[in-house]
Each structure stands twice: as C-alpha cells, then as structure tokens.
Amino acid sequence: MRNVYRKVPDRCHRKDSLMKTFKGGIHPNDKKELVEDNPIAALPLSDHYYVLTQQHIGAPAKPIVKPGDEVKKAQAITEPLGFVSAASHSPTSGRVKEIIQRVHPVTGLLAPCIVIESDGKDEYMPGLPLERDPFSLQKDELIGIIKSSGIVGMGGATFPTHVKLSPPKDKKIDTFIVNGAECEPYLASDYRLMLEEPQRIIDGARIVMRILGVDKAIIGIEDNKPDAIKKMKEIAPPEVQVEVLKVKYPQGAEKQLINALTGRDVPSGGLPMDVGAVVQNTGTCAAIWDACANGIPLIERITSITGRGIKHPKNLRLRVGTPVKDVFEFCGGVVDAAKIIFGGPMMGIAQFTDEIPIMKGTSGILLLTEDDTNLSTYSACISCGRCVEACPMGLIPSDLSKQGEKGMWEKAVGTNLLDCVECGSCTFVCPANRPIVHFVKFLKSLQRAASAKAKGA
C-alpha cells in the first residue's frame, strides 16, 4: 500500500477493504489499457515454425521426427522423457526441415529446436478435431489425454499439468482454483480469453474437477476486469464460483491466490496440494477442454503483444513455434523498444534477440520504451523497509540484496533465500533502485552450484 502513484483504475467498482487479498504486495500502474480492448486476432500462417524441445519445467522432451519427415498439424513431434516432462506437437502441416540449436527465451542458451516448414495447407492429423464427451471418460483416461497433449501451465511457469493433476494418494484435494487474476501489468491475454471464450475455461475447469474429485471450483479474477467477472458469472454453473480479488500484485502468484481465496497458507517449501488446493491458469483450463473434448493438443495460445515499443498492440492467437519477428511484423513493427520481454514487466525475461519463437508459456511479449522501463543504477540500501512491507512472502529482501552483493549464499539461505518467489515487488518499490531479484537469482545459482557439487562429491 505504499505506492502513492497507485492508480486504481476507474473501472474498479468495489471498496478495497471488501475484497479478498493477501498480505504485502504492490500497486503498479496496470497499463492494460494499451491492449485490453483489442479482440483476439489470428496471425497468418508463417513459413517456418520453430518448436523448442524444452517447452516446460522438468526433464527435456526427445524429438521423434527427423529432418525430411512429413508432419500434420497436431502430430506429436517430441515425446516426454520422464514423468515431469511434456510432449510437443506440430503447429501446422508440412515437413521437418531440420533440427537446429536456437536461443531459448527462458534460459538464454542455445537449445534443440525442431524447424517445421509449412506446406500452407494447415491440415490436421486424420480424425482431428474429434467430438467426444469428456465427462464419459475416466479420471485416468483424462490425465492420459492431458499428458499426451503436452499441456503445461500457461500462466508462464509451464509446469506439466498432468503432474499437478496427479497428487499423491495421501494429499486430499478439496479445492480447485482457476487463476484469472492476471496480476502482471500490461498483459491481457487471460482477460480476452475470459471475455471471448469463457465456455472453454468453465468446461476445462469442470474436467479438472472430475479428475480431482472435487465438487467446487473457484475462479479468482482481479477487480480491474469487471467485464470478465460479469461474463464468467453469467455462464458459470453453480459449482463454479467466481470471486473478485483486489487489484494488487502478485495476486496471481499461486500461494498468494490460495491464501486470498481460502485463507490457507502453503507451508514454506511446500506445494499447494499440502493445503488441499490445486491451481490452474484460465488458459490451461481452455487447453484441457480442447484436448479432452476435441483431441487437439496444446499447439496454440493467446498472447498479448503490448507496450509502447510496438506499433499496434494486439491480443493474438499464436501457434507455439511462431517466429517472434513474424508477430512483430503483424503488429506493425517495433517502434522504439529498449527492452523486449517474454512475459510481463514484473517477472518476464528480457531478450537479447528477436530470433526466438513463441513458447507454450508466452503469455505476453512486452516491448518497453526507454521511458517506461528502468535502466538507472543503484545505490546503498537506506533501510527504509519498503521491501519488507512489499514482500508477499514475509522476507527481508534488503538483507538478501546485501548478501547478494557479497555472494554470501549460505548466510542468505538462513535469511530464507529459498522462500523467495522472485515476484519483484521489493525491487519495484526500492527507492535506491537495488536489483534485489537479480541478487536473489545470483545467490540461488551459487546455492544450486554448491549443492550439486556436494551431491557429486
């Protein structure tokens, strides 16, 4: 509650105190007006698609096609290696041109990438799309479909969905939450999906409820999306409850969302399932419906292309593997971008090239001008405590940043380094402009390297 420049948009209609939320957090200007009113549009077919084999958190997937192979749209082109992994599918019909090394937008490193040359026909696999009643299928069949469809968390974390939907027997799940908070400033892809295709979300949520064996779902939506709230309330069946959340970042962070909606605290180091909750993003729910009802795997998603650095901000239905350059061209070109970010401004990843493809987790591409981003240097901590107030995890970020400057990772672990979710709230409010998240990432990398070494020894 510290930012005096907080602008609660006029469209917010309730008193703050009446709405559900969590402790801590910040109020950045949401800047969603740049793109939120643009209906979802489709991009013309690209000549080539670049499908990175690692689209998810977990073990990489292995290519099962080789250069020269003919592929159809929705045909599997990689298979998961291990349980926490996910397959990928061809975004269109054509030929596998080559398997190359390509810059991975998340790691920034070169990674294997399957290049599909489009034949322009955009033909599905024979028999697709099919029509079936997902509610006649058994739980295990549904999880099998979700797994083979390569569905991952589409909010950006890209954790394989079938894993989240397969909690161990001893974890009793009683609450399923659909995350429609979309708390990252600028982005509006979830908003457009809720507004334009709400039935896919609701039906996908009902499939998840069937899998988890719960009889109630909660959809949490931030109060800056009244149209989406209204729409979802109109079509939601009684067992799906729409809850209005206060506009506050990071309202959509999993632990904060669960806390706001149920009052439960996921224990430190634990998972939502430890408090009986499972959270899925709205886009993920829609993808689950497509897979279970129509047999369509995860090959496309809604992405907001926004920021003042792009000529015409748009919400686009993009196929996984679409070259970002084609996307920019469709949006009228890059105007004056100082930063190209995959994701939102708070947790997104700055890219050093536009030779990268759309991923399953690309909820937005943000092009910030120099005025809108933050390129200045930092100074010593003045102990103002704003980061402590802002931290939704109850940490002391200023201590972590000082330890980060000195590389003191062991001490930082004692200062709850590993509880940090890197939401960036502390860094946003820091008057000394200290790059606290950067320091946290650095300390975590030191800690990982040391523990890997200890295991190896």
């Binding site: 930063k339 997104g348 050093f352 933050n374 405590g385 931290c391 790059p435």
Partner: protein
C-alpha cells in the same frame, strides 16, 4: 533494430526514488522552518542557508576526496543541512553552523561509507557535538518576536524546558518557572532551536509525511505517547515537581525529534514492530534525561542512543515468513 537492453526482472520501477523521498521530507519541514524565520527573523534564514549550502558543498568535497561518486543530487545532504539548522539556536554564528555541517557530513555520514551506512542520525551527531563543545553558543536562545516588529536588539532567554530545569534546580519546585501559555509553543512563540518552536507546523509536516507514506505513524505516535504516559504518571504522583504531559509534549524538541529525527530511515528499525520498540526507548530516555539528567532536553541524546540499538532491534523483530511451520 535499435540496441535493446537486458537485465533481471522486474522491468518497471516506482518513481519514488531516494531523491523523491528527500524532497518530500524537505517539503514537510518547510512550515516549521517558516515559523522559525517568522519569529527569529533574518538570522534564522542565514542559519538555514549556511547549513544547507555547507552540507552540500562539504558532501561534494569529501566524496571527491574519497574518490566516491558525488551524490549531492539525491538531496540527502541538503536535508541533513536543513535538519541541522532546525536543531540550532537561531543566533548560532556562521562558523558554528559550518562546523556542524562538517561534523554531520564527514563524521556523521561519509566516514561510514555515505548514505545508507551511517548508524547515527548525522544532524543529531553534529548537534550533540556542538552542544558539548560549545555550550554557551548552543544555549543562547534568542527570544521570538514577530518578523514585522520594529528592529530592536535581540533579547535572549531560556527555553521553557531550560527554565523548568533551573526552577527545579534552584527552588525544587516547578512553580518557580515562568508560566507559559500552552498555545505559545503550539504556534511557535517561545525560545528554542529555530525549527522546534511550533508544534503545529511540525505536526502538519509530519502528517504530510505519513499521508505520503514516507514514514509510518509508528515512531512519532509511539514516541510522543510514551513521553506523555511517562510524564503523565510522574505528574499524577507529584504535580509540584513534575510538569504536566502537555507541556512535555509540545514545549521542547519532541515534535521535531519524533516526526523528523527519529524517523530517519537509515538509522531506525526496518519493521513496524521494531519501530515501536525503538520509539518506546526514545520516549523513556527522553523523559529520564529531562527529569533526572543534567540537560534540560533529552530528545537528541535519546534518539542517538536508540540508533545504536537498531541492529539489535532488527535482529529480534524479523517478520514471520509466509507459510512458516
């Protein structure tokens, strides 16, 4: 394509940086400073001008000499100068003000590594240094008169707290102290440091800082409440030798200290719980010095003493982390 930048997230930032905060605190001090100028005239204006200028110049010189980046643009040196001036008698000679600025910036701040690293409030370090080294100049209090009153020789006299101390010391009773109308210190019509005389102006500035979320209510409210409760208790026990709490709250440097000196971010605890503990300590020490100490006023000493406890307080008031088991 033009050059693009890469850095760790987040990619947006609040406009409230250090210089913005310093500017807000300076704005908040303006009413108090104007009251000082109104009642003490041109000399008060001179003290402020000399203090602010010399602090900024000394900061630039010392940073240059130490091979550091010059950061006078962040406004913290100017603020230190203004705070120092507010804590000096309006008749302080120019060399005393410059010496105070030197102590504040070099001994109070730069030797520790500059803004953010100093354990003690720089302006108070300077004030206490001057008070101990130059007791005569530091306790010669010009009496207030209207800025527009005809020119006359400056009259000096005691501060209300000073008069109280003398009365108790000489007569063992506060009734020997001159009666003061409580509205005088509220509006500023009393002797004292040039920036501490009007409780009203200082409270206005403090409320601005709280509304702007530069400071939280914890330190000023708890500090003033502690002083009120402690002196109130003593007054109830024996009103003959202990002044009433209203007098203690507004007749001295408490408002300036509680809203502006004890809320310095760098030298106070980081959590609200820690701030409450810090403020209680400040309140208790202030009263102990005022009632039983050798000095009539204890605010500066109290805050400096509690500054020293900040690392300890921070250690014991860590927030509870989310999902702690």
């Amino acid at each position: 394509m033009k050059d693009i930048f890469i850095s760790s997230s987040p990619h947006i930032h609040t406009p409230e940086d250090i210089s913005w905060i310093m500017r807000q605190v300076i704005y908040a001090l303006v009413p108090g400073a104007l009251i000082g100028i109104y009642f003490f005239g041109i000399p008060a204006l001179m003290v402020i001008a000399v203090a602010v200028t010399s602090c900024v110049v000394i900061e630039a010189i010392s940073q240059k000499a130490l091979g550091q980046k010059i950061t006078i643009k962040d406004g913290s040196a100017a603020l230190t100068g203004l705070l120092l001036a507010m804590n000096l008698p309006s008749g302080a000679p120019w060399w005393l003000v410059v010496l105070g600025s030197l102590i504040a910036i070099v001994l109070g701040k730069q030797v520790y590594g500059g803004l953010g690293n100093n354990p003690f409030n720089p302006a108070l370090v300077a004030r206490v240094f001057l008070l101990i080294s130059f007791p005569v100049q530091m306790t010669t209090w010009p009496q207030p008169r209207s800025f527009f009153a005809p020119a006359a020789d400056t009259v000096t006299g005691a501060t209300p707290l000073g008069a109280l101390k003398t009365a108790i010391f000489e007569h063992k009773s506060i009734t020997a102290a001159p009666d003061i109308n409580i509205m005088d210190p509220f509006l500023g019509n009393i002797g004292g440091s040039l920036g501490e005389i009007s409780a009203l102006a200082l409270i206005l500035g403090g409320v601005y800082l709280i509304l702007r979320r530069i400071i939280t209510w914890h330190i000023p409210v708890v500090y003033i409440a502690t002083v009120a409760a402690f002196t109130g208790l003593l007054w109830l026990i024996n009103p003959g030798i202990y002044a009433d709490p209203a007098f203690h709250m507004i007749a001295g440097g408490l408002m300036l200290g509680a809203f502006f000196m004890a809320t310095d971010m760098v030298t106070t605890p980081i959590t609200n719980k820690g701030k409450v503990i810090f403020a209680i300590g400040c309140g208790l020490i202030t009263v102990i010095i005022r009632i039983w100490g050798g000095y009539p006023e204890g605010v500066s000493f109290a805050i400096l003493i509690m500054n020293a406890f900040v690392p300890l307080i921070n250690r014991f008031t860590k927030p509870q982390k989310f999902g702690a088991v």
